[in-house]
């Protein structure tokens, strides 16, 4: 305590001053720019170069985007409207969006069917992708493949229903025998499904598709971005289980099984996808019995699935190898047999480790579905290169079409990779 009273000293301040802002150079945007853009001379030069690059890109694309023409019927009309000014001719998108998305032979009154199937895809995928959702939704996921098949291809509803019954019967037999032995359940399930399909196939009447609720659309009428989506979704979802089997086979202690898997994986990974598509296009016909005619879509699905399952197998093998040995031993010490310890202990952990890799493969595969345009399937690239650029109306228009295709792929692929990063953070159980 001081001897003097506060009121007796004239110059003592009674109230505290509010703190001043830090000086301009040490706070706010100036500080940010000094540390992030102009830290050193070299850094400042880099910034200037980067600004120049951005300026070049923006000045080249901005007028082109802003001046874009959206409602003309042909490139010539579009050029007349632009009168020599820089501008995109986006009318090709408004006029041909249906061909870019659905191909040029899919019946236009049925566009709602693939669109609905795409919408439902999100519903079906949601419980798989976000496991906070109620588990009951998985039931819809199980039904979805058959529903989507029926929506897209149309025809009689009996075929998808029969396929579904076969799977249900197989699953029933599998879960019944599972307690006794995995092998018995597995092979019994497959046998039951095949029996159901064979017997049921006899009951589907000839020409059932003729007056079906949804008119049948042959596979060769599928096209556009829809074809890319269908190939991507089908092949990835088919190749994950096959990839798991191949990875387990490659790690197996049985030499014959192991070598079959090794040779398959190395062979498929050693050749480019295009050669496999050539196989699908020109060679697979020789491998099937003479009287059967498997359509090109199915042949392509088979080859792409083989391709991606080999890659996924390698990713999962990495996951299996990364698992501590103690996890395998724990399974053995509990007295679990091979199938049980894999199903309950090893695979859940190994798959979690390999999720980023699997997603990478999925994104790559989705991009690779554009290669089918090489074997004259009209996916989005095939449509652009073929019917649209060859037409008299739109010959000579490139940027708008390529940009559209690029944007579609970018949105899907970027979305998937963002999801996988979210999932990685979400599944991170190691407390580091």
């Amino acid at each position: 305590m001081s001897d003097k009273h506060a009121q007796s000293v004239a110059f003592v301040r009674e109230t505290a001053l509010p703190p001043l802002d830090p000086p301009m150079a040490a706070s706010g945007p100036v500080l940010w720019m000094r540390t992030n853009l102009f830290a050193t001379w070299a850094n400042a030069l880099l910034t200037i170069a980067a600004v120049y690059v951005i300026f070049l890109i923006v000045s080249a694309t901005f007028p082109w985007m802003i001046n874009g023409v959206w409602n003309t019927d042909s490139l010539k009309e579009c050029r007349d409207v632009l009168e020599g000014a820089t501008g995109g001719c986006f009318s090709v998108l408004t006029e041909r969006w249906n061909q870019l998305l659905f191909g040029f032979t899919y019946p236009s009154e049925s566009y709602w069917r693939p669109s609905l199937a795409t919408l439902l895809l999100f519903v079906a995928a949601a419980p798989v992708l976000f496991f906070d959702l109620p588990r009951k939704l998985l039931l819809f996921t199980a039904v979805y493949p058959f529903l989507a098949y029926w929506l897209i291809w149309g025809g009689t509803i009996l075929v998808p229903i029969l396929a579904m019954i076969g799977f249900v019967a197989g699953y029933y037999v599998y879960s019944h025998f599972l307690k006794k032995s995995f092998a018995a359940g597995f092979f019994g399930g497959i046998a039951a499904a095949i029996v159901v399909w064979y017997i049921g196939g006899l009951f589907i009447p000839e020409g059932a598709s003729d007056n079906a609720m949804l008119s049948a659309v042959p596979s060769r009428d599928l096209g556009g971005f829809m074809l890319n989506m269908m190939l991507g979704v089908t092949c990835v979802s088919l190749s994950v289980p096959i990839g798991i089997a191949l990875a387990l086979g490659r790690q197996s202690s049985l030499p014959v099984v192991k070598w079959i898997c090794v040779v398959f994986i190395e062979f498929i990974r050693g050749v480019p996808l295009i050669t496999l598509l050539f196989v699908a296009n020109v060679m697979l016909g020789y491998l099937f019995p003479p009287e059967s005619s498997v359509d090109l879509f199915l042949r392509v699905v088979i080859m792409i699935t083989m391709f991606s399952s080999a890659y996924i197998a390698e990713v999962i093998r990495g996951g299996l190898a990364a698992l501590p040995k103690g996890q395998y031993e724990a399974g053995d010490s509990l007295g679990l047999d091979y199938a049980q310890s894999m199903r309950l202990i090893v695979l859940p952990q190994a798959l979690k480790i390999s999720i980023p890799g699997i997603v990478n493969i999925a994104v790559g595969l989705f991009k690779d579905t554009t290669l089918v345009s090489v074997i004259s399937l009209f996916d989005i690239i095939g449509m652009i290169r073929g019917p649209i650029l060859a037409s008299t109306d739109w010959g000579g228009i490139y940027w708008e079409l390529f940009m559209f295709a690029g944007v579609l792929f970018f949105v899907v692929c970027y979305g998937i990779s963002q999801y996988s990063q979210w999932l990685e953070r979400r599944l991170a159980t190691d407390h580091r």
Binding site: N36, L46, Y286, P289, Y398
Partner: protein, 404 residues
């Protein structure tokens, strides 16, 4: 007193094949083998029936027949009267050419972008992330088509270079960028040029020898020899000296506009450039990610320890961080090279005559020998990828962490 006896010998029952772990593995393998043999037999017999029905057979005789088509970009002598086998060789060499070129440019681009993504400069960092994300998420096929379009639609035609006031001019009077490709000067090998080339090769070996010697000296005695300028000196000086000593034997053949097109020089066709650039920028984005991951994988303590020892930042990078980062970077880098080689098969889209274009494209279509062509094509790519993975294994074993 107890008497030890053998446990009663169990008689063999059929169910033991499935339930007894002693026999189960054998059963499984026999089943697998049987399924495999059956599958091969089934497919083989189908092929046999199909071929017989169409009156075909498996024969590689077509390889000896004249191909009957022209190839615009060849590195070895080839005419349309050459055999299909020679066409395939042209294709193989073209594949290796574009793969080699793309590997180099993709590495340069990828390392640059990967290092810049870790830059302290916010703008540069973001710009590089945009580059990586855009190129990784759009199919290679679209990039190839876009660059091919730039090459063929946006570039001037050769006749734009004609006249008193041409609308386009050659770059430095030596390089012409046209819609048919880029024309660059070609070297002319005069007498004595081989001596210069030999000197050049010897000086490359000399650079490696010097660097190895310097490293050994550093490890043995701790003396640090200068690395950069002696390397450059050994690389350039003897060759340049020899060049003038031999009387400038190597000249340049400049491209010139004659008639409707450029003559002389080397023409790098538009398809090759489209493929090369697209492969480079696309794979460069992936390599950038590998480089970034590799540098980030080196724990921060390593560079801090190096700084604590008083090393300057350049030395920290070259002596401490990079050697450790390379161990992480190189294996995925080599798989990217493999990817480039395999992706070069997309050449068929822009009409570049690689092995897929010649053997798998025109030859297949002309001869109808689908099975033979596809099998040969696969065998080629398999050879390449097995070779590359062998190299990778050797490298991995050489550089893996030696733990004691």
């Amino acid at each position: 007193m107890t008497i030890l006896t053998d446990p009663p010998r169990e008689s063999f029952r059929l169910s033991m094949l499935l339930y007894d772990t002693r026999y189960r593995s054998v059963t499984m393998q026999v089943i697998a083998l049987a399924v495999l043999v059956f599958a091969f037999w089934y497919l083989g017999s189908n092929v046999g029936t199909n071929l017989r029905e169409q009156g075909l057979d498996i024969s590689f005789d077509f390889l000896g027949n004249p191909a009957g088509y022209d190839i615009n970009q060849t590195l070895i002598p080839y005419t349309s009267q050459s055999t299909n086998l020679q066409a395939a060789w042209v294709g193989i060499i073209n594949t290796l050419l574009v793969a080699f070129l793309a590997c180099i440019t993709a590495t340069v681009l990828g390392v640059l972008a990967g290092v810049l993504r870790l830059s302290k400069n916010w703008l540069v960092r973001k710009l590089m992330s945009v580059y990586v994300e855009i190129f990784r998420n759009i199919p290679l096929l679209i990039w190839i088509l876009i660059i091919f379009t730039i090459m063929t639609v946006s570039m001037p035609a050769p006749n734009a270079f004609r006249g008193e006031t041409p609308s386009s001019t050659m770059f430095m009077d030596a390089f012409a960028f046209t819609n048919r490709g880029v024309y660059i000067p070609a070297p002319i090998w005069g007498p004595g040029s081989m001596v210069v080339v030999a000197t050049f090769i010897a000086s490359i070996i000399g650079v490696f020898a010097y660097r190895r010697y310097a490293t050994k000296l550093l490890f043995d005695t701790g003396r640090l020899l200068p690395m950069l300028w002696p390397s450059f000196a050994i690389f350039f000086v003897p060759t340049i000296l020899m060049f003038f000593v031999m009387g400038s034997p190597i000249g340049l053949d400049y491209p010139e506009l004659k008639g409707f097109n450029f003559k002389g020089g080397i023409q790098i066709g538009a398809p090759l450039i489209a493929l090369w650039f697209a492969l480079s920028v696309y794979t460069g984005a992936f390599i950038a990610e590998n480089v970034r991951a590799g540098i980030q994988a080196v724990s921060r303590g390593q560079s801090e320890a190096a700084a604590a020892l008083g090393l300057r930042s350049g030395r920290v990078m070259s002596l401490v961080v990079l050697p450790q980062a390379l161990r992480v970077i190189i294996p995925p880098l080599i798989s990217q090279y493999l990817n480039i080689t395999k992706n070069s098969s997309l050449a068929i889209l822009v009409g570049y005559a690689d092995i897929t274009g010649t053997l798998g494209g025109i030859t297949l279509n002309q001869t109808g020998r689908a099975i033979e062509c596809v099998v040969l094509l696969m065998a080629f790519y398999l050879t390449i990828s097995l070779t590359i993975s062998m190299v990778m294994n050797v490298y991995n074993n050489a550089t893996k962490l030696k733990e004691r």
